[in-house]
Symmetry: C2
Subunit: 254 residues, 2 copies
């Protein structure tokens, strides 16, 4: 029996702990082969931000950080380590909201998120925090090109993170970097069930893929940092996940 | 070869056009059997809002609608049919934002979304619009119970819709109704890769599932209104998707 509409999502369990300088593409290809999943043309490979940051050395030793007066002042209200607040401010272009223990910033990448994406989880040692990769779209492109070089296969790569969002409870997976896929799928002009033309449907397919991957990433106790999504027809492109960031002048909630 | 971490997502292609009074659970079970997917314990069945609204008769004939003065006045600015604006206002408890052709409301369900969820797509005839189901959590529970009655299988049901969101471009699938699954997965207390306890991770797993399903729903030209997600371990519960609505007093962006 053939199912035309079927997607498979594989969590790679054999990715080792990633260290600075590691070649993530190589780790992915090796794990995919060992686990019998392999890499195929058209696969979408979702990589957790945390291992990209580790491989690229986007890790900060808090013992090297001297917090500013401003960082010290607001750290009290936020009940955070002033050194972490200092790192958050250094990653920010702008503070978008503050309150109730939260600091929401516009990062230098153009992403609006909590704590500029600075994270204490999945970093070894209590003195360390991870930053978002410097240029997540470039990180995605490099991994994609390296997978192509190693396997000859044409894949899409998404760098994912989990983020809170306005108006709704809970975090979800979102795409912060992308290569080989158009993050926004413009379906205007497609017909609905009754043949009427859709007016306004531009789907953030890269965010949906990051959320789908997060289901598997979060399932294991220690987390699974790489997920392969197979069987989806997706729009090819290389605009990068930056197109998902809505600029302030177009947003009703900023 | 056995993959421990694998999810499968099946789009059911044999769901007929749904009419008022149709038993959606029956249509799902029949299509799942015809397509060889079947229904298994632990399956998560994601149903597009549009067919639930049609089955429940949540369809409005615009020829019956007399727009108020307020609806007429703002319809011009929004470049919408005044009768559609009237329906949007009737579904709303509150207008949260207006501008640039958009009207964002708090619906009587407690959901903040564009146009109170009133939609012209996937409704037959130019005079009709669909409303969100009156009580989407109840709709999900009824479908779940009916599937249990028909098959003996214990499944989770999510009613999904696609929605825009603040700060990011494009629409994504979200859960507006749920039964048999806890929409929020509280992972505080779990350990990260290095054994540290996660502090703040509550994952909106029902929204992630709706996004994963939307990947398949949107793939076919005419849309696929029912998707089965198989292989995921998820938290059981019956709080309903209403727990995903963050109240104004807890939100920094409302």
């Amino acid at each position: 029996m053939i199912f035309l509409r079927k997607i498979e999502i594989y969590g790679l369990e054999k990715i080792p702990i990633v260290k600075k300088g590691d070649n993530i593409a190589e780790l992915i290809v090796r794990a995919a082969n060992e686990e019998g999943v392999g890499i195929r043309d058209g696969d979408i490979i979702v990589v957790a931000q945390t291992i990209v940051s580790r491989a690229e050395g986007s890790i900060v030793d808090l013992r090297d950080i001297e917090p500013s007066e401003f960082a010290k002042r607001i750290a009290g209200d936020l009940e955070k380590d002033p050194r972490i607040v200092e790192v958050i401010l250094r990653e920010a272009k702008e503070i978008v909201r503050m309150g109730r223990g939260h600091i929401i910033t516009l990062t230098h990448h153009g992403i609006v998120c909590a704590n500029s994406g600075v994270d204490k989880s999945n970093v070894p040692g209590e003195h360390f925090v991870s930053l978002l990769p410097r240029d997540p779209d470039l990180s995605a492109r490099k991994i994609r090109e390296e997978i192509k070089r190693l396997t000859g296969k044409d894949v899409a790569v998404i760098i994912s993170d989990t983020m809170g969002r306005p108006l709704r409870e809970g975090v979800i997976g979102v795409a912060i970097g992308a290569s080989g896929i158009s993050p926004l799928w413009d379906r205007r002009g497609d017909k609905d069930l009754f043949g009427y033309t859709l007016q306004v449907t531009i789907v953030a397919i890269a965010d949906e893929l990051a959320s789908a991957a997060e289901l598997v990433m979060g399932e294991a106790d220690e987390g699974i940092p790489v997920v392969i999504i197979r069987g989806l027809e997706y729009p090819r492109g290389d605009e990068g996940a930056r197109v998902l960031n809505r600029p302030r002048e177009k947003d009703l909630f900023w």
